[in-house]
Symmetry: D3
Subunit: 327 residues, 6 copies
């Protein structure tokens, strides 16, 4: 089964170890973006994925293209611009009591200039099973928001399932605009993925427990499923993660994983990837558990993607081992 | 307000990660020294600072000079020698149950040869608000001790406040000499900064609780303030730090921070920097809290300096966040 | 006193930090092998050691030779082949909930082709006090198993003490073969070193507590001592280790160390090295404590060897310090 | 137009700079193999390519797979084995008067075990324009030689053009065997690519000038084209390269490029890639010039592949610039 | 004597060695910009310099600030913006026949938004001897061009000498605009520095020899001096450089240096720095020779600045040594 | 045959590539020293060597010890001090027209405090064939000079051949003292090794051609052989090297090698090592040729030692190859 995602990918520059951006003499290079991360995650689990975005025909655009291909994600519907920027972001890794920090330099990127007419949506969705995007994409620009609207509509018309990660980014737009732009999208969405905080900021849904928030969202917008990622952060380098979903009046709640954090970026996208795999297999409980396991594993990996193998995820679900696997 | 500090800076060479000195094929280069670290810390908080020391006109002397300038610390009163050594120290980072280890190679450095006549103290202190040095400087050599004496006297004459970090280093001198040399300095000191252990080793002050030791020191030497840094070390890579001060018959005690240690060196100097800022702002409680926050943050940073920004320190004081700050 | 060990050493290739093998653009190079690690450990404690193995006369064989010499381990009885492979292994370092992983590429190495006639055992053992090997060596090939048999017999004839680490590797042979090949060796063994798991897999010894397993092994095979390493793993990066020994009807049990893991590989070999030192000094309690301390320290060091100094081990046994040692 | 190549790729491990293998503490990781390099080269020039080989389902196998995908080379016909080796090679970079050195550890790789029945050749060649392999592939094993035979026959039957790089490797087979095995292949070959030395060693063709050798080869085996790469090596780090071709009784000879060598490996494969592009465009003179330009450019790039862009190659053909191109 | 320069500095990101941008997993970080490079160069020679530009109050802005301070260049007149971009550029180092390549990502930087009212020019120029800027600054934006106009006028009014490097960048503006904007500036310029190519592109001055072009420029615009940098490039990694000046009807021509290129960027700025030093010392011949020597030395240094010491430059002028200097 | 050498080894710290000391954020670690380099060189050629020196029992002392053992050089006669310094030196690599530069920080090292009574010379020389030291050792201190005197006398008494490299270091002593101290040593020397420049500075021997200088030295001091290393330096990164010897009234002159310089340090010591091998084999012509070949090869290797293999040296003597050796 083929999944299609739409969104921006950036070149990520991070100082080594816990060095600060100000201090560094070197940046390690990664490529990441919420929807690309999801596409990569489902490919790791054995599915086929296509990532739709725009890149310039420059060494930096090709650097991103290479990274996407390396992960086995399809690039047939990439929009190539003769020139322009690739968005950048800088991350420095914290330790208690210093939080990690992200600095964006993404304004004016080729991806932010994507418009609804840049892609032949019908062709892109032909034969695909599911379309995924997130609240970052419409936040990039008005034309990008229109592209998201066009894509969602086309996906539905083509009979695809649609997952949508609310993914609110306060540096890209204010809550009111996020709500105004995205509410019309919700009619096309089958599965909404969100954290408690995003749901509150964007849709004003605040409940005592996440299950209640999920239920309210489902009822308000008619989602088939609302999945919520959960996190407790006793320190910067050790967190606990879990996830739950509300569907058909039922709550599915997974256990908590203790995670030793190597790199937190992309953990939510790893959840989404795992969730999508279970969802496509028609098993919601498995979807939550796969998502949560991939999310937990992502914290231990360098870069924005979850480089887990299917076999590792299954082993973790089956009880895991803290010792060395020998082959 | 301008702060002036006096002391040695060394080139620090550390193997990467947890590699041992014996094993390493590479040393990472940092520059540090107690009083330079304090100067850097107050500059980070928005003050002006001048660091007084001696360096040789060699590539290694210039390497130190460059590092000091990079931090925005003033170098107008540096004493330049046509030749000579820069002190070195080597550090390897431990993990439980292996402690971190420091190896010094600092004997005969230009800084250790500083004498009272090398600096025009009156000129250096003109317009300054505060002078800071530590017990490492007089331990370097007899002439350095005389320079400290001359500096303290001149600072007082120029109307500066004086802070003094006891900073006992057993590899530089024995306790009795440390006491004999430093006791005459105490008359010039407004604020004594110390750990419990240093106070006991140098001045023989041993009490059941740090508050009592601080009070005794204040009473014996007539300090305006005695500030004490506190530490609990359940493991090599996780500590708890706090601080307290005794002044005017009152005890100020801050809360404890849990710290995930990236690099412990210079944490005491970060406390001193923060304390000085609050002290100059005339708020002792804030001084203790600023110092403790900078000390806690320093543990998460690579190198001897606390590269925190004012805004970060304020955020930590205001409750902090363990999540990623997005700009 | 001189110790002789027999076994294979491999070149170890590991991505930096927590990078996965698939992702890496660089491998860090180490050399390791169970019996070489033991030889290195006893040399660190002040003994003399000779390591017997086979290497090809290629840059890779010389790379191993250089690493062994660097550690001060004797190489006079190395068997040099004009060509052939050096075994390799790849390790990636995990973090909870992702276990560390080892991938071997060791088939067909020169060491695996060692035969009983390749070494003049009498000459190698002349003047030596103790011979050590492990269950990995006979698992390499039939000829290697024969070499182990010849070595054990010759060691006993030469009056050496013999220690044997059961060290079961499931990727090299099945349990039944491991038992069948190794049982005849046990008559030559004075000290058996094992984990609970290895004892169960190879000799079918399963008891409620390790002490009982040790006793049963000692009684069944007539060992002078059975030493058992113990481990609890609350997370991938934090473990607790301890050790015990059964000898003369007595159980010796050491305390537990909390370890912050830098690199777990070789921890068992570090135990063996420490144990051997205490055993040769005629003090079994000290043997267990030295072994456990070296095992705990090994977790904090990069590479397969325990680079502790005698003085550090003694300090740890005497209570240790979590602070920086200053010299 | 789609090109299909068949051969082995290895993981290449090289010490940084001019460090020797024996000395190194780190290996830089690349992936390369003659036919993969050719496939990558034609993709860089805008063509589509598929690489046929075998890999194990291990992290090392996936590392190779990732590298191949990153280059945009198709992997649909890869043969995946559940276990097994990836071949390795080690390279150290010389400087006059020390030559560069390659050490292979490739015996027993999955690719060497490829057999004629492992691939559905008809399917692989459907719609393709050209098949390329080299003399390394049949040298890997008898089954690999049979696979090459089957592939060549199938390619011809499917109407593809066939290019063959003689690529003699003395460490894989003796000259007589190389000739005996490969002569029957020559009937399927349209374009033979070789150096003077290879032609002499394998086919015993020794002439005063390369043009004469090319002519004799063409006449003996009925090749449409014989292309010969030429090299002069005044020093290890500076060479001169050129190329010529014999076809239809004509000699095409390109000019010489002075090259400053960063990494020589794969230069011949870069020639082949460029030649194939020109050949498919139906212009033999352009084929030689494109091949020679890509070969020259390859010397300046790290790794086994020629990462040139089409535009750069055209600029070089058009006269080039030694100055910085600014975009 | 104090020099003031005005212009943009960027963060420069370069892959190590000769790795291409597309391939890299790491970028080395430098800071550079034509006028900053000049300021740094004159500081290295013992002068005082102030660099005027704009930076955002972000970690990236501070990274630049730190780098500037490290070099000892004054930053008192920096314009700090609360947010915004730092311009970036990427460089990959070539080798024959592949030229080095620069990719800019500088649009919309804080520096490009500088306007004439952002700086108190009179204050900035008080007590200064010379003002320098280049043709890059007015090319950044219309407001930046106005700032340059205001600065030139103010500098002249304050009695400073003015040097101007024509520094044409085709990716920033077309030749006609470059001429139209800059011609009015020329009335304020005492010393024009240019390459032959720039003079032709911007001012349409094409002569058979550089001396003639310099004379024509001097006559047309009334410059006191026209200095021209000269370069021959037999290969990417080996060049020959020289320089000449026309002043008072006289031609001063220095000898040629053979340079082994480590990093070519900033070589022209190093010339300007050296020239300014000699010019301020009132010796035009020395100005040309100092500039040429610093230019030659710059080619051997990593980063955009010439880190030469005064003593080294003098030694080179005095005949130099190709051997190791021992101190 | 066993060779014994006496001298200091230092830890060498060098910035990567062509980075300057002032700029660097990292130092690469090597160990080197003239007489240690010679010992390492003869071991590479298959001889046995013992290196006599003094080291402190610190991590830095052990780092040196490890490096020496790694090379296979014997350390049985090392003098271990409970504390003290290891000498350091810093090197930055130049490129034309910037020479490479060495900065020493070696004063007060343990090796410089060696005295004649620290070593049991008779025991050290028992069974040895040749003793080697250089003019650096007596320059370290008066006691070190006495140790050299004692060693030379003891070596002669024990029947060893003695080689002596004049190796004048102007930063350690003035020419007159170098002559005064060393002239009495010359009676014990069989083979003097020198450059033309050293011979002139120390012994005032200046002749039109090196052969004449060698003859004069041989006649004045009665040396069996005088060997002279020759160098031409058209650029910093490309040199030409050769060597000659005068013995028994005959001149032996080898050809010139063009060398592409990776690291020049230790090239003279590599010559000495090669010369000693040939000398011990009783073939002076071969001694010169071996020495010259090892010297040429050393220029291409990182660090102070010549890591050539015997086979490589023989291949170079036999004509060499500029191409890749494939095994």
């Amino acid at each position: 089964m083929r999944i299609v995602t739409l969104g921006e990918a950036m070149i990520r520059l991070s100082p080594p170890d816990h060095v600060r951006i100000e201090q560094t003499s070197v940046f390690e290079v990664q490529v990441g973006g919420a929807e690309l991360n999801v596409a990569a995650g489902v490919v790791r689990m054995g599915y086929t994925a296509e990532w739709i975005s725009a890149l310039p025909q420059t060494p930096l655009g090709r650097l991103v293209h290479n990274a996407v291909r390396r992960l086995g994600v399809g690039t047939s519907f990439l929009v190539w611009k003769p020139a322009g920027r690739v968005g950048l972001y800088f991350i420095e890794h914290g330790a208690s009591p210093r939080p990690s920090r992200v600095v964006y330099d993404r304004a004016g990127s080729c991806a932010s200039m994507l418009g609804p007419a840049d892609v032949d949506w019908a062709k892109a969705f032909a034969g695909a099973a599911l379309f995924h995007t997130s609240g970052i994409t419409p936040a990039l620009s008005d034309s990008a928001a229109q592209a998201v609207g066009a894509a969602l509509k086309a996906a539905k018309e083509a009979g695809l399932s649609v997952t949508y990660d609310l993914n609110y980014r306060g540096n890209l737009w204010p809550p009111e605009k996020a709500r105004r732009v995205q509410e019309p999208f919700m009619q096309y969405v089958d599965v909404l993925i969100t954290s408690e905080a995003c749901a509150e900021v964007v849709f004003g849904v605040r409940e005592a427990v996440p299950a209640a928030a999920a239920r309210r969202l489902a009822e308000r917008y008619g989602f088939e499923v609302v999945a919520v990622t959960l996190r407790e952060a006793p320190s910067v380098l050790r967190n606990r993660v879990s996830a739950m979903a509300f569907a058909g009046g039922q709550i599915i709640q997974d256990d908590w994983y203790e995670v030793e954090i190597v790199d937190r970026v992309g953990a939510g996208d790893a959840f989404t990837a795992g969730f999508i795999c279970g969802y496509l297999e028609g098993d919601l409980e498995r979807a939550v558990r796969l998502g949560n396991a991939m999310c937990a594993l992502k914290h231990t990996m360098v870069g924005d993607m979850c480089w887990a193998e299917r076999e590792e995820v299954e082993q973790l679900l089956a009880g895991g081992s803290r010792f060395t696997i020998t082959r």
